[in-house]
Point group: C2
Chain length 405, copies 2
């Protein structure tokens, strides 16, 4: 379920979710990446050899910047795959880029190199969408890295590029608007491309790893978008990424049980243990808890017939136990996740999302509106409807509302 | 030393070395690959999605055939990287291609997909050169596979693509005329791109492995040709391919000792144990045996100052022991290689190469001539000199020979 969770988390990440600290760090990281790429291209031969090799034989339409080319700061252009390769190499060739100390991952390189190239090729892309995708990719790299560190590194892999192709696929996939299933396929195609071993440190091939991971992740997202299939459990399967590339991995620590302690009213209203339809799912605290854990949210998309009948969801649902406790308020819940390795995580939800004490932020409310309305009348009309309904207090004639979107 | 040996073996393989059986098998394998690619493209969506994805964004000059495109048999064209990807996918998508039973490698796919694309982009390439490069790549794949089988497969890797990128780099590198050092770099860049896990069997991603291995190997050879550096011991190093991708590898079984039993005349003429110059090396049976084992040949290239002082060569030279035996003829030798795992290999050279009983073939003699002359007066003049000197019996006026090349 690691693949589904990662895909779902990335899809659901919004700009509104990013705290000020995260935004500042993401901006700085991207800025630093650009400086490394421009400086790296100008003063090192590796990115220049890579560009010349590619340009002379393969390169397509010049849609994307080669940072640092044509002089020390000004830009050259190549196709998006070439730009991802060359900028990836250039950004890492000086070993002067950002570092996630816990895993020794240099996270910006693969993700930014591919993301900028695709954004330029596909545009327009707002800074907010760009940074949200960037954060999704970087976060995925580091989480994947943590799940296999330090054993993965000890085996001899170069962790920046091995996690980089997956992080890149997630970032580019998010920019391309993939849904959860297509994102799972993108993760699969990216994860089967394991680039980078430590033997190559000290040669041009170390920085090649970053460029190649950027290319591989980008290609994965694009192929998945166009319907190329892969595995839906690429990370956690027996012969998938986590098991093949490391002697230890903890991303698949099975959930053994989910303990909920709630007000008795909860089971009276939502006590269905085995819902059979999406509608029944809404009256099952078991289903709600399961999709919350698996998808990271509980919107109408998680209460369809298909999701209710999904075998992974059913499996998780069956692990949920609910106990009544009169002392727990009706909009609160105590949750304990126990893993099969014996470890556990506790969470106390004092006020349910949407309660007076924990209201939706403006951004959350807008996301909710857009999801509901977009599915119904299409994205373009939904955008107009969003503008109309959000500003009803300023409207001159509310009776004309139907014609406005 | 596995990387050096593999590179050196591949560089030195000539068309004349290919037996009739090997040639027939190579021709059939290539023919079968083309049938698989044409049929695979026409009847499966995976290669078509890959082509459309690439064409729409990246593809450069249409130099190379997309087999099966534009109808069921006729050809379409794309740049060489795109052609390698798409033909690689198409040739494997039906799982109907050739199989090396001992390793379960489908060897033709990656190698042929890249080789044809590069040959078309660079041409002209003779059928003999093409098949020699193809055999070098396929042989490298299977040898690499044998050195890590079955443990590599048991870990979860898809052995066709993991060995395929290296075999492809060797085939393309041979077509591009790389020397030994550049070929070692090509092997390095290819080996750090480990594509393919068994989790993806049953999805479009299985055939993607073959196409991606073809692309990665091709890119490795091209980068190396242009001076991109890698490791010279990519395969055998502690954090290199063999150790990282398998729990067992036997390509680096250390040579413990080399026992030679020869006529006493040998040590009288060539008894230098520690030669210091290339010229001294010619009078060292220890050096000759060492380079024979390491490079697979003993031409002037192995008797330079640099090779005599090479630390890998010195190390091997120090393992050579020579004993005198009056009963051994002067042009014969008994050799026993003992490995550190206790195993050993014996070889009896009854007649030295170049003796009346074991003369150089015409092809070997021509190769020898071209190597010597090419280094001296350049390849183009050497070709002309070759034509002149080989046909001296038909010459009208031998006194004019100097002006003929």
């Amino acid at each position: 379920m690691a693949t589904l969770q990662l895909a779902s988390w990335a899809i659901n990440l919004t700009y509104a979710n990013l705290t000020t600290g995260v935004l500042t760090a993401a901006n700085k990281s991207f800025y630093n990446w650009a400086g490394c790429a421009i400086g790296g291209y100008a003063f090192q031969s590796a990115p220049q050899i890579a560009l010349n090799t590619t340009l002379s034989l393969f390169s397509g339409p010049p849609t994307s910047s080669i940072l640092g080319a044509n002089g020390s700061i000004s830009l050259g252009f190549a196709d998006a795959q070439t730009a991802a390769l060359v900028n990836g190499i250039a950004s890492h060739v000086d070993d002067y880029d950002d570092t996630h100390l816990e895993t020794i991952i240099h996270p910006a390189g693969p993700v930014a190199s591919a993301l900028l190239a695709v954004a330029e090729a596909n545009g327009p892309v707002s800074g907010q969408d760009f940074l949200t995708a960037f954060v999704a990719g970087v976060e995925a790299e580091c989480k994947l890295g943590l799940s296999v560190s330090p054993e993965h590194y000890d085996v001899g892999w170069h962790i920046t590029s091995t996690t980089g192709s997956v992080g890149t696929a997630i970032a580019v996939g998010k920019l391309l608007g993939l849904d959860t299933t297509h994102m799972q396929h993108a993760i699969g195609i990216a994860s089967t491309q394991v680039v980078g071993m430590q033997e190559f440190f000290g040669s041009d091939t170390k920085s090649f790893h970053i460029g190649r991971a950027a290319q591989g992740g980008m290609l994965a997202a694009l192929l998945a978008k166009n319907g190329y299939t892969s595995s839906l459990q690429a990370l956690e399967a027996k012969y998938g990424w986590l098991h093949v590339v490391s002697t230890r991995e903890n991303a698949t620590a099975d959930v053994k049980s989910v303990q909920l302690r709630v007000n008795p009213e909860v089971l009276i209203l939502t006590g269905k243990t085995s819902p059979q339809t999406g509608l029944e799912g809404k009256f099952s605290i078991y289903h709600a808890a399961a999709v919350g854990l698996l998808y990271g949210e509980a919107t109408p998309s998680q209460f369809t017939d298909a999701v209710v009948k999904n075998s992974i969801v059913i499996n998780m649902r069956n692990k949920v136990n609910v106990t009544n406790d009169d002392s727990v308020p009706r909009a609160s819940a105590h949750l304990t996740l126990t893993f099969s390795d014996g470890s556990s995580v506790e969470k106390y939800v004092e006020h349910a999302k949407g309660s007076i004490e924990n209201p939706l932020t403006d951004a959350e409310l807008e996301k909710k509106f857009m999801e509901q309305v977009g599915l119904a009348i299409g994205e373009a009309r939904a955008e107009r409807a969003n503008g109309v309904f959000k500003n009803v207090q300023n409207m001159e004639d509310v009776s004309k509302i139907q014609g406005m979107f």
